[in-house]
Subunit: 277 residues, 2 copies
């Protein structure tokens, strides 16, 4: 792992790092904010998974999480959204291929060799974070935006022992039931929709995944609300399963980082309260 940039911010350190990933077979870049802390302290970790077209840089630049993370004493990790590079398969569309990994382990050619973002986020990167930063891996939360909200919900629901808190900003709640999801999961996983259910928050809940609570913020002026995001599907799944979903429709907000940054500090505090010792 090499550090490709670091600066002091809000009394802590915002760094950007690159490493050779065995999961993806490529170099991967991610950012980590470590807040000010006492020597030897181990801190809780909040994962943030980004949306379509994004890298680690979007939330690192625009997310406005550092003040709240410094105050709460929580590490913030922002991975990339897919493998990248000239040797990695790609697609001309913004919603498939590089920048659109959908946090799955692809099974279909030509994607299966590199597009293993599930393994990367669930196994490889956590081991690197644990080995490199002052992280208490017994206290992890996860959040994300749009495609990354889908990632946060599905990875959180599949790993309830690892993630003590799960939230999302304007998530794709059911790839089985929206054009983005049908295209991506069809491409990465093939036509058998039964194989998609492990990557669909609503289907995971229907199939038995249980967590005590979820927090979701969603702008009601989001251009993708009706066709792609469909938070009512998550509402129905949580109601049927007895999961305590706090779903806040935020009036006037769109799908941008202006929306995310507005509610970021609230999400950080929500996670921090659930990750306190």
């Amino acid at each position: 792992m090499v550090q490709s940039g670091a600066a002091i911010a809000f009394g802590g350190t915002q760094g950007v790092y690159r490493h050779a990933s065995s999961a993806t077979g490529t170099d991967m870049t991610f950012s980590v904010y470590v807040p000010p802390h006492a020597p030897g302290a181990k801190l809780p970790v909040l994962w943030y998974l980004s949306g379509l077209t994004c890298t680690h840089a979007n939330v690192t630049d625009k997310g406005e999480y550092r003040a709240a993370c410094a105050e709460a004493g929580i590490i913030f990790v922002a991975p990339d959204t897919s493998p990248r590079g000239a040797d990695v398969p790609d697609d001309d569309a913004y919603d498939f291929g590089q920048g659109a990994g959908f946090y799955v382990d692809a099974t279909q050619a030509p994607w299966a060799a590199n597009f293993r973002m599930r393994m990367y986020i669930e196994e490889e990167l956590p081991a690197l974070i644990a080995a490199t930063f002052p992280a208490d891996m017994a206290r992890q939360g996860i959040t994300g935006h749009s495609m990354g909200g889908h990632g946060a919900l599905t990875i959180g629901l599949r790993n309830p022992d690892r993630f003590k808190s799960i939230s999302a900003f304007a998530p794709i709640v059911s790839p089985l039931n929206c054009p983005w999801g049908e295209k991506a999961l069809g491409g990465y996983l093939g036509p058998d929709r039964a194989a998609w259910r492990g990557y669909d928050a609503c289907a995971l809940i229907e199939d038995g995944a249980r967590v005590p609570e979820l927090l979701v913020d969603q702008g009601d002026a989001d251009q993708f609300l009706t066709d792609q995001l469909k938070p009512d599907l998550l509402r129905a799944a949580c109601d049927a399963a007895g999961i305590d979903l706090t779903l806040r429709l935020q009036p006037g907000y769109d799908h941008s980082y202006y929306f995310i940054s507005t509610f970021m500090a609230d999400h950080v505090r929500w996670h921090a309260a659930r990750l306190a010792r």
Copy 2:
């Protein structure tokens, strides 16, 4: 004036606007954040002038000012740093020409036709802001970063009746005494250094400009601290003139927006306290 983008953020509206400027003879772009406010209310205005290579977008994306402006009820205006366009003179260097207007009215060819950022910031844009937004122009403050800190200090010192509060992040305090300043003012104003004194915060103070107080934050790990920024020159000028300068050397901070964003909320609150009715 046309609105080229707008979104709700922290309960207010972050907009980006473009207009045909008579001062520069070009289209100019700027951003304005209007916080949530009661119908009919007139709000104080904080101007933020950006540094070399920047447009309105850098602080709009990375400045983290909206939460504090929403809480304080203050409008935030971020202009561009120079005229731009294929028909506008330019220089290959990052520190001269487009992106490096230095907030002067140029007198030298080929710059004099377009590079009139003093008139733009002091006269034209305030009139547009007053006519377009719910701004109380009797309550204005100004701040900025690096070259924009120079702009904030010099425009503030020349217009103490207009600006009730002046602060800066890592400002160029004396263009007469640093390579950036010597190159830019020499190029825009010619070799007669007497003509530069109206664009040098320290010289303005030496020549009689007076304000009650100034706030400056400066990172002590800033790569430009010793050769370009030289806050000790401002300290000496303020001490000799009896101006109450709060100069805070912030340990470990560099010249980036990680530094600016860390202290932005504090500056917003400092201005808001001085711009209260």
